[in-house]
């Protein structure tokens, strides 16, 4: 695999640094997903106290648009995976097309969720829990999306090549995190 070829050229210290970054990223993902689990627990406990959920008289959330953008988000995960493979093979054209399309899909996701956030009628804890969960996730999507945009600029400036693709790999893994966290929230907010 091209990535392994690139790693063969690294010194012992560089290889150790790369290994550390990869392990660190995994530990961070496993750790920070617990903050999302915490909000799921909050959702579960609040709704278990209510006689019905949504509470009587409150319109349930429509899941059509969110489902569509959830599919967008899942597709963006596949695209960033392809983009990482492309940069590892020095295929810059393919990288840009996949990476940027993923960014566009991610932006569409954020816009739709922001629309849902604004338009949900204020209805006590039902809307509060929704708003806090989606806002918490959106902050992550925005910050990581911004990082991915900066990575795009660095690749364009020739600062990322197949010899060191950690910046792209990190962006990819962080975007996977955004996707997994959202799928958990989607199930809790729209399915259960």
């Amino acid at each position: 695999m091209a990535q392994h070829v690139a790693e063969q050229g690294l010194t012992r210290d560089e290889l150790m640094a790369l290994r550390n970054k990869r392990t660190g990223m995994t530990v961070f993902q496993v750790s920070w997903i617990m903050a999302f689990v915490c909000l799921i627990v909050v959702n579960w406990q609040i709704r278990s106290n209510a006689p019905s959920w949504p509470p009587a008289g409150v319109e349930p959330l429509s899941s059509i648009l969110p489902t569509i953008v959830t599919l967008f988000l899942a597709a963006s995960g596949w695209l960033v995976h392809n983009a990482l493979q492309a940069i590892n093979a020095d295929q810059l054209g393919r990288f840009f097309s996949q990476w940027r399309l993923a960014l566009v899909l991610g932006a569409a996701f954020v816009v739709v969720i922001a629309f849902e956030w604004i338009t949900i009628p204020t209805s006590g804890m039902y809307s509060t829990v929704f708003r806090v969960m989606t806002a918490f996730h959106a902050i992550h999507a925005l910050v990581i999306g911004l990082y991915m945009w900066l990575v795009d600029r660095r690749v364009r400036a020739g600062q990322v090549t197949s010899h060191d693709t950690w910046a792209v790999e990190a962006g990819t893994k962080l975007w996977y995190f955004v996707i997994v966290a959202w799928i958990m929230f989607y199930v809790v907010l729209y399915v259960l």
Partner: protein, 571 residues
């Protein structure tokens, strides 16, 4: 066994470590040793601050009426900040300080995996601490370190918001530090050091870090909601608007019970090192001690609701009682392994060893009272009384703080190159140990007689007991200054330590004291068993170090290995 010698580079001169100045510790540095000292110095500052608040608490409790404090709210702020500072700004950062200094050295590494991140994690602590103290002076931070709503949401002032923001920063710092430790331990062990050749302190930090990365994000979630309730008008913890006060208790304790192990597991690691080195015996049950740390980390996530026995649905009490009893088992394994370690050893009653033995005796009392509190009927009887205060101080002072004292006496020579004054150390121990016991043991009695915790006014029949406790507490507070004086005095006038004053086998001693900026000259070779005392090979290993670094060891620390192998209980 094949002879293993400390690494030597033919013709290589030993680098003379640059003498660091105080100003070096006040600046941004990515050297794990400087960061470790920064953590420790900062934590000691907050220890003094938190200790001063404790003295005020005991002063107030000399009489049954409110006389020192302006009112009950001021007293609430006092114990709230005392508890929070001692936990989040003293014990946790102090352990992080030792770990920062020692883990890379024990692994033979040049630094932590992410040096910049390491420095960043530390530099979050001073602003968080300032925010916490500001919160105290702003006022009405009065919900205790547990910050239960509605007291922390509807009945506290702006100080409570600062408290929550401060804790948020400390949580982020903790997570970043823990990620660093896990990566360092997983990836940066030297050739020849598998997981089961790691020093037990490193095992303890691995278990601690796993707890931190899994539990602390829950605290972050809880604090975010608390802040939103306070400043953004949400009502997550207000039942009148659909919220739930028990929600806070669940998510807070899901973090905070494991946090107890964040505070005490590093202490377990310290004790494993100290007992073995100062009794010149291999650790008895190495694997049992190592794996029991992991067991504690795992089971620690299943016991949180024992803090809520009085508010918990009755049918859930028994399951949580059972898990709480189960977690005593791995701790018991450690205690018996430690006893096995010193049994038949040639015990050197150094100050470090005295504090380690002090830990062993006092922590067991805290553990037993913990099992008592884990029992539902007893817990309901003593809920929110001084029995709980006694238990937690036996665990956190009798456990963690005595271990920290022992660690200071043990590793001060490595960090500074100077020995602490042993005579002062023993005076420190022989005042601290009884004063600690006399302060906190009578609280069991006060609690069982029904004295509630967190009150400034109490029934007059408790006054004699409280006066006794307060006097002992004042002695305990004063005894701390013996250590502080010893540290400052020894830093300038202490006997030179040499590389390995305790003739220890773990890698932090296989370099000069203090170590050079790169930690080691060349790649260090670990001794196969970090606790393999009592063998010819161990003797030769230490002797080869001494040839390299020069022997300036205390003359009374005899190399017992030379006398003859011990009939040690080895693994």
């Amino acid at each position: 066994m094949a002879a293993v010698t400390a690494p030597t580079l033919p013709g290589a001169a030993i680098e003379q470590p640059k003498r660091l100045r105080v100003s070096d510790y006040l600046r941004w540095s990515v050297d794990h040793k400087i960061i470790g000292v920064q953590y420790m110095a900062t934590a000691l500052f907050f220890f003094i601050f938190g200790g001063a608040l404790a003295m005020l608490i005991r002063w107030e409790l000399l009489t049954p009426a409110i006389d020192l404090m302006a009112d009950g709210q001021a007293y609430n702020s006092l114990f709230s900040i005392h508890g929070t500072v001692m936990i989040f700004l003293w014990i946790i950062p102090m352990m992080a300080g030792f770990a920062n200094y020692l883990v890379p050295l024990m692994l033979g590494a040049k630094d932590m995996a992410f040096p910049w991140l390491n420095a960043f994690a530390f530099w979050l602590i001073p602003p968080a601490g300032i925010m916490m103290i500001l919160g105290y002076f702003v006022g009405q931070t009065e919900a205790g370190w547990t910050s239960y709503p509605p007291l922390s949401t509807l009945f506290s002032g702006d100080g409570q918001t600062l408290w929550a923001l401060s804790l948020h920063l400390l949580g982020v710092s903790s997570i970043l530090g823990a990620i660093n430790f896990i990566v360092t331990i997983r990836n940066m062990r030297p050739a020849g050091m598998g997981y089961f050749q790691m020093p037990l302190f490193v095992w303890a930090m691995l278990a601690t870090s796993i707890i931190i990365v899994m539990a602390t994000p829950f605290l972050a979630g809880a604090l975010t909601l608390l802040i939103l309730d306070r400043v953004a008008g949400t009502a997550f913890f207000n039942p009148a608007q659909g919220g739930d006060v028990l929600l806070w208790q669940n998510i807070f304790w899901f973090y905070s019970h494991p946090a107890v192990y964040i505070m005490v597991l590093p202490a377990f690691g310290i004790i494993s090192e100290l007992l073995s080195v100062h009794s010149r015996k291999p650790v008895f049950g190495y694997r049992a001690i190592a794996l029991s740390s992991m067991a504690i980390a795992l089971v620690g996530f299943t016991v949180w609701a024992h803090h809520m026995f009085t508010s918990l649905t009755p049918e859930l009490r028994i399951p949580f009682m059972i898990t709480s009893m189960i977690i005593a088992v791995p701790t018991g394994i450690k205690v018996f392994s430690w006893l096995g370690t010193i049994w038949g050893g040639k015990i050197h009653f150094t100050s470090a060893m005295l504090f380690a033995l002090g830990f062993l005796s006092m922590f067991v009392i805290g553990g037993i009272s913990g099992v008592m509190l884990g029992s539902v009927p007893f817990d309901i009887h003593v809920h929110d009384t001084y029995f709980v205060v006694s238990h937690l101080h036996f665990v956190l002072f009798g456990g963690s703080v005595l271990a920290v004292y022992g660690a200071i006496y043990h590793w001060f020579p490595k960090i500074t190159g100077r020995m602490l004054d042993e005579r002062l150390g023993k005076i420190h121990f022989w005042i601290t140990y009884p004063a600690f016991f006399l302060t906190f043991f009578p609280m069991h009695l006060a609690g069982m007689l029904g004295m509630p915790r967190r009150v400034a006014q109490y029934a007059p029949e408790f006054q004699t007991l409280n006066v006794f406790i307060s006097i002992a507490a004042f002695v305990l507070g004063i005894s701390t200054f013996i250590l502080l004086y010893n540290m400052v005095h020894s830093l300038f006038y202490g006997e030179k330590a040499g590389a390995n004053p305790w003739r220890a086998l773990t890698l932090e001693w296989a370099t000069s004291s203090p170590p050079p900026s790169t930690n080691f000259i060349g790649d260090p070779v670990p001794f196969p068993n970090p606790y393999g005392y009592g063998t010819e090979a161990a003797y030769n290993y230490v002797e080869s170090q001494n040839k390299k670094y020069g022997t300036v060891n205390p003359s009374d620390y005899e190399p017992v290995e030379k006398i003859g192998p011990l009939s040690a209980g080895t693994e």
